[in-house]
């Protein structure tokens, strides 16, 4: 790529929300005053020690942080190369990394006096985290979820309802995450006066990609300290799955300026990159959707194409704008794993480590299976185990028994 290398990979975005050409604020005028307010509120909250202190209290006692950095001994032995550590985000309350960001956004919403929270969700992990914190703080919660995802992630739909959220199945378009986001934006435009939109990933109009990244960066910051404590040095490589890319950005961002750390993002290659998939960087190009410019899957006319992944959480035709930039400047290597590779990794981790991963991080494990054997035994590889697989057990069970 012919893009100049910056002095730091961690200084973005600029004041207009751009990471290179990516990012920005491509929203309807109705929403513009709201996202400017949000930016102001976030800037003020960041500078307020009381905000951070309150958040740290909930992160420790409600979410259960820090999450462990666990040496996966049997997986390491099995693959016969790099020493593999799992960052155990699946042990957080609600079962994934999503809660880190939701906690931050709900606390912002409270500061802004918003009483009604809306969210989009794919796999349901972000929806569950949002429903959970709305229950905790007594806020109204409406979650938009594609009708296809409602079907394949039933356990999470039931959880959200038990937590008091209203789940709205979205019938428009492809009836997956992209359409859930369209519908959430339509709700927000309609209910601007009392509603806070809690976006689940590092995408959307500025300042969302930045604030979600900042709330998720606790993953990488903890990893850094934990690895120092266990091994006395930095890791040599990081691996994480990417739909919108929030768990990956949370792990990667604190290490971007450490040149010895190799970084790998893993997109969902679905049935394969020449067929239906959800790998925006591998198979897309820059375009504008959902408030930002980023890599998107689209046709020659700029119409957004259907994504496909076995994992509802990765089934999105775009990616966070900072990832698009990190790809263009060459700091992060973006790979992809197919449905079949993810299924194999799902089973391998379950059997070797007694940890059933969500299908999303199973994509990251799938690439660890390729990368680790090629690296020496003193190579320290961290993979973000971003969510637990309980929600996927019925779906994977059906597939393995040959029902689907």
């Amino acid at each position: 790529m012919n893009v100049a290398k910056p002095n730091s990979y961690r200084s973005g975005p600029d004041e207009r929300g751009h990471f290179g050409i990516f990012g920005g604020r491509f929203v309807a005028e109705t929403l513009m005053p709201l996202i400017l307010d949000l930016e102001k509120a976030y800037t003020a909250a960041k500078a307020d020690p009381a905000f951070q202190a309150e958040m740290n209290g909930y992160l420790k006692n409600y979410v259960g942080r820090p999450s462990p950095l666990y040496f996966a001994e049997r997986l390491t032995e099995h693959l016969g190369g790099a020493k593999i550590y799992l960052k155990r985000e699946e042990l957080n309350h609600t079962g994934s990394h999503k809660v880190n960001n939701v906690l931050g956004q709900i606390m912002l919403a409270r500061r802004m006096g918003k009483k009604r929270i809306i969210a989009e969700t794919g796999a349901g992990q972000h929806g569950v985290a949002t429903a959970t914190l709305c229950a905790r703080f007594g806020l109204e919660c409406v979650v938009y979820m594609g009708a296809v995802d409602v079907e394949r992630q039933q356990p999470n739909v039931i959880r959200m309802e038990m937590l008091g959220a209203k789940v709205m199945p979205v019938q428009s378009g492809t009836r997956t995450l992209k359409d859930a986001m369209n519908e959430a934006l339509r709700d927000w435009v309609t209910n601007v006066h009392n509603t806070f939109y809690c976006i689940g990933t590092v995408a959307g109009p500025h300042p969302y990609p930045t604030l979600v990244r900042d709330f998720q960066s606790i993953i990488g910051n903890e990893t850094r300290a934990q690895m120092q404590e266990i091994e006395g040095r930095l890791p040599d490589s990081l691996v994480a799955c990417i739909g919108g890319g929030s768990n990956a950005m949370g792990l990667f961002h604190p290490f971007l300026d450490d040149p010895t750390v190799e970084i790998f993002g893993v997109e969902a290659a679905g049935h394969g990159l020449t067929q239906l998939h959800a790998a925006s960087i591998a198979g897309g190009r820059p375009g504008v959707l959902h408030g930002n410019r980023t890599y998107l899957l689209m046709d020659a006319d700029g119409q957004i194409q259907d994504a496909h992944s076995i994992s509802a959480g990765l089934d999105y035709p775009g990616i966070g704008p900072e990832h698009s930039w990190l790809h263009e400047v060459g700091r992060v290597n973006y790979l992809s794993a197919t449905d079949d590779e993810a299924l194999a990794a799902f089973q391998l981790l379950s059997k070797l480590e007694g940890i059933i991963p969500a299908l999303e991080p199973a994509h990251a494990i799938a690439k660890v299976m390729e990368l680790a054997p090629k690296r020496p035994r003193d190579h320290l590889m961290v993979v973000n185990l971003s969510g637990r697989g309980d929600k996927d057990v019925p779906q994977v069970g059906d597939i393995l028994r040959g029902k689907k």
Partner: protein, 278 residues
């Protein structure tokens, strides 16, 4: 630079009349029928035509216009064919202002400079691009103004007095006031609230102000026409079109007339309005 939009609003002002602005989706339900509909609009009383550019993910549109876009895409509509439609329309009509309305991505992918050249030569007068607020003016607004096209901005109930100057700074042709916080075709606009909003915007600009979102009937169009320089109807026309289609969503012998008849009724409503004194 004077566009057909400027000329038309000057004429209407001298006649003491409010403009009737119609929205239809390009290529709905197919390119040929769509061209016939667009041709029928001025004869039925449309003063300005807004032509939707179909897009898969129209974030600010309600179910009717979402479905219209998908019908058009399914029938093979593209941005290039939308410009072809405008060019064909211009063969018989060189006076009715025509504005393209849609989302940025198809234009970005077409290429901004090439799009502006092609749109201008096809006979497009202005652009309304929903997801380009003033914060992104460098993308398309400034180049469009340089190319001699009007860039019509949306002002909304959330656009306060502090923000209005920024919204109006590079706006030309007219201002499109979105009468409700919401998506197209959702709630009904309250004429009194609209009157206050129009008066507020008029304190910041001399441009004509057209009001849209939530106007469905001749009576509603008339009420808005008494408060503003123009009223925009979209969803009601798109619904009339849809109700004329056969079970497979194809055009029937009734389709063009269904849109033309409702346009005529709405235009009557607007023309019956007592224009508010300036």
């Amino acid at each position: 630079m004077t566009t057909r939009i400027d000329t038309r609003f000057a004429e209407l002002k001298s006649q003491g009349r409010s403009a009737f602005v119609t929205y239809v989706m390009a290529g709905d339900p197919d390119a040929a029928t769509s061209l016939n509909i667009v041709k029928a609009l001025p004869k039925a009383g449309a003063d300005v035509i807004e032509l939707g550019i179909p897009f898969t993910d129209p974030m600010a549109d309600g179910p009717s216009i979402q479905a219209a876009g998908l019908r058009a895409l399914k029938a093979g509509m593209t941005l290039k064919k939308t410009l072809d439609l405008v060019r064909d329309f211009r063969k018989d009509d060189n006076v009715t202002p025509l504005v393209l309305m849609g989302y940025y991505n198809p234009i970005y992918i077409y290429g901004v400079d090439k799009f502006l050249t092609d749109a201008k030569s096809a006979g497009v007068d202005g652009l309304i691009i929903v997801d380009l607020p003033p914060e992104e003016d460098d993308e398309l607004c400034i180049p469009a103004l340089k190319a001699g096209l009007n860039f019509i901005r949306l002002a909304t109930p959330t656009t306060d007095d502090k923000r209005l100057p920024a919204v109006l700074a590079n706006t030309s042709g007219f201002v499109y006031y979105v009468s409700i916080a919401g998506i197209t075709g959702a709630a009904a606009a309250d004429a009194n609230a609209v009157g206050e909003a129009v008066a507020r915007i008029k304190r910041h600009t001399r441009l004509p102000i057209c009001v849209g979102f939530g106007i469905r009937t001749p009576e509603a169009a008339r009420a808005i026409a008494e408060k503003a320089d123009g009223s925009v109807v979209g969803t009601a026309l798109v619904d009339a079109l849809k109700n004329s289609l056969d079970a497979e969503g194809r055009a029937t012998a009734k389709t063009v007339n269904a849109v033309a008849e409702l346009t005529a009724a709405l235009a009557q409503g607007v023309k019956g309005a007592q224009q508010a004194a300036e």
